[in-house]
Assembly symmetry: C2
C-alpha cells in the first residue's frame, strides 16, 4: 500500500520530512535562471527549464536524506503549458531517485470531473487503444468542501493504482478557522468531521503499517487541533504543512505522530531558498538545501522519534 | 467591471447561459478524433488537437447566441502538458469570438500559492523584465474551505486585471450538504456563511450593473438554497451548474435571478454531446450543439426573463 512505502522510506532514512518544491522566478538562483534566459529569452520555456534544473539539483542533494518531495502545482501552472512540462519532468526525476512524490494541488470536484483530476495525477487516460499516464504521482492533496462525492473518485483511482490521497482537514493559515473550526455539535467541528470522513472512507484499505489510503492535511501552526485529530484518527496518515517559514516548530508537530510514525512534515522555502542566506549568490543552492534539510531532520528526530 | 461586461453580453444575446467545454475522449465525434490520431498516433498531442478542433467548432456554432463558455480544467489536465496547450488555445479562441471565458478550476490555496493560481489564470508572471500571461481567463471558480485567506489573493489579482471570481457556496452534487448545509446557528449554514463572505469581500467593487467582483456558485439542483442565497446576496452574481444532465430544470434556476439578471446557468454535456442523439455519428456536432443551446435559451427566457 502507498503509505506502507512512504512509512518504510521514512523509517529507512530516519526522517519524517518532505521538501516542498515550490519554485517562483525569485526563488531560482540567478545563475540558473540567467543561463536559460540567455538560451531561450525571457520566456516561459526558459523559466520552466530553470525550474527543472533547480528541482533536479535539489533532488540530487536531498534524495538520500529526505524521503519525499511535494511540488505545489500552482507554481508550475503559473508558467502555463511549459510549467506543466516542468512539473512532469520533476515528478519523473524524483521518482527515478526513489523519492515518494506528493502533488499539492488541493483539487476538489465531483463525478467525472473528480475522476479526471484523479486519473490525471494518479492514473492514466485512454486515447484510442493506448494508455497515457500524464504525471504518475504517488499521492495528491484533495479539498472536501463538496462532500464525499469530491473524495471518493480520488480514492477509487488511488485504489486502482496503489496511490494515496491527503484530504485537507485543518490548514495552516491564519483564517483556516473561519469554516474549519465551526462547532457542529457533539464535540465536533468541521475539521474533525472532514478527518472522520477521510478515516471512514478508507477504513477498508488499512495497510501493513496501519494507515488507510486517505490521509489528511493538518497544519503545524495549530498544535492543539493536530492532537485532537491524532487522537480521533489512529489509522490516518498526516501531512503537516506550516513548519519553518509559517511558524510551526518541531515541538508543534509532535502531536501529529503516533509511535514515532504516521506523519510527514513539509518545509518548502526554508530548504529551497536556504541559498539566500549564505551570501554565495545561489551557486551553493544544493548544498545549502542539504544543510537545512539535515538541520530539520535533527530537529524532528529530537522531537518525535527519539 | 468584469460582471458588467458579462451582464451586458447576456442582455445583448438575451441568453443567461454558459456552455461548459468539458471534453473527454468519448465526447469527441469519432471523425474528429480519428483524423488527429491518423496524423499523430494515439497520443496526448492528437487528443489535445482533437479537443481544440472540437471546441473551436462548438465556439463557432455558439458565439452569436451564447455569451460565455466555461472550460472545466480537469479534462485538460488529464492530457498533461498537451492538455494545458488545448486549454490555452481554447481560451484564446473563445475570447477572439467575443465570449466571456470562465475557468472552472475550483482552486483553493493561501498566500503566495493562491497568488500564483490567480496570476496563472487571471493575470501574468514576470520572467526577467518580461510579462507572460499564460491563459487570461475572465473569471475563475474558487474553493473557500481555507477561509478568506484562500479568496482574497484571487480578488486582488482580479481587481488588478478587471477579472472576476466565483466562490463555491452550494454545489450541485448529492453529497454537497455534508459540509455545506451544516447549521452554524443564527439561521446560518456553512453555504450561507461562504456566500456572505464573498459578498463582504467584494462590497467595495460593486459595478454599474450592481454586482461585486466575487460571485458565487450555487447549484440548480438545490432550488430552495438558491432562493435563500439570492435573498441574502442582492449584489452577488451567481454561476448555476446542475442544469440539464444533472437534473435541474428552468423552473429550478429561476430563484437565482434578480430582475431577470444576476445569474448565468451552465450546461455542458447536454450541449457538447448533443450529437450523440441525432444518429449522424458526430458529423453534425456543431449544429446539434447550436440546436440544444437554442432550446436551453428558450427554456431560460420563458422561466426567468419574460
Amino acid at each position: 500500500m502507498s503509505f506502507d512505502r512512504l512509512q518504510d522510506k521514512i523509517d529507512a532514512l530516519g526522517n519524517p520530512s518532505v521538501c516542498g518544491l515550490d519554485p517562483l522566478p525569485e526563488h531560482i538562483p540567478p545563475g540558473v535562471m540567467q543561463s536559460h534566459i540567455a538560451e531561450k529569452g525571457e520566456t516561459p520555456e526558459a523559466a520552466a527549464d530553470a525550474y527543472f534544473e533547480f528541482n533536479r539539483g535539489l533532488i540530487d542533494a536531498l534524495y538520500d536524506i529526505v524521503p519525499a518531495v511535494k511540488p505545489q502545482s500552482a507554481f508550475y501552472e503559473l508558467l502555463g503549458p511549459r510549467g506543466a512540462e516542468a512539473l512532469k519532468r520533476t515528478a519523473e526525476y524524483a521518482r527515478s531517485r526513489g523519492m515518494y512524490v506528493i502533488l499539492d494541488a488541493k483539487r476538489g470536484d465531483i463525478g467525472s470531473t473528480a475522476q479526471a483530476y484523479s486519473e490525471a495525477y494518479l492514473g492514466a487516460v485512454r486515447i484510442g487503444a493506448s494508455e497515457y499516464a500524464p504525471y504518475n504521482f504517488d499521492a495528491i492533496t484533495v479539498n472536501a468542501y463538496l462532500g464525499s462525492d469530491g473524495v471518493v473518485p480520488f480514492l477509487e483511482t488511488a485504489n486502482r493504482n496503489d496511490k494515496a490521497v491527503f484530504v485537507l482537514a485543518k490548514t495552516s493559515n491564519p483564517s483556516s478557522g473561519e469554516l474549519q473550526d465551526i462547532d457542529i455539535g457533539g464535540g465536533r467541528r468541521v475539521y474533525t468531521a472532514v478527518g472522520d470522513m477521510a478515516a471512514a472512507l478508507s477504513s477498508d484499505s488499512v495497510g501493513r503499517r496501519g494507515f488507510g489510503r486517505a490521509g489528511i492535511v493538518a497544519g503545524a501552526t495549530y498544535p492543539a487541533e493536530l492532537r485532537i485529530l491524532r487522537e480521533r484518527l489512529p489509522h490516518t496518515f498526516f501531512l503537516v504543512p506550516g513548519y519553518g517559514a509559517q511558524g510551526g516548530g518541531a515541538g508543534d508537530v509532535a502531536g501529529a505522530f503516533l509511535r514515532g510514525g504516521g506523519a510527514i512534515v513539509n518545509s518548502s522555502r526554508a530548504i529551497i531558498c536556504a541559498w539566500k542566506k549564505t551570501g554565495a549568490g545561489g551557486a551553493d543552492y544544493a548544498e545549502a538545501a542539504r544543510r537545512e534539510a539535515l538541520c530539520m531532520r535533527g530537529e524532528l528526530r529530537a522531537a518525535v522519534m527519539d
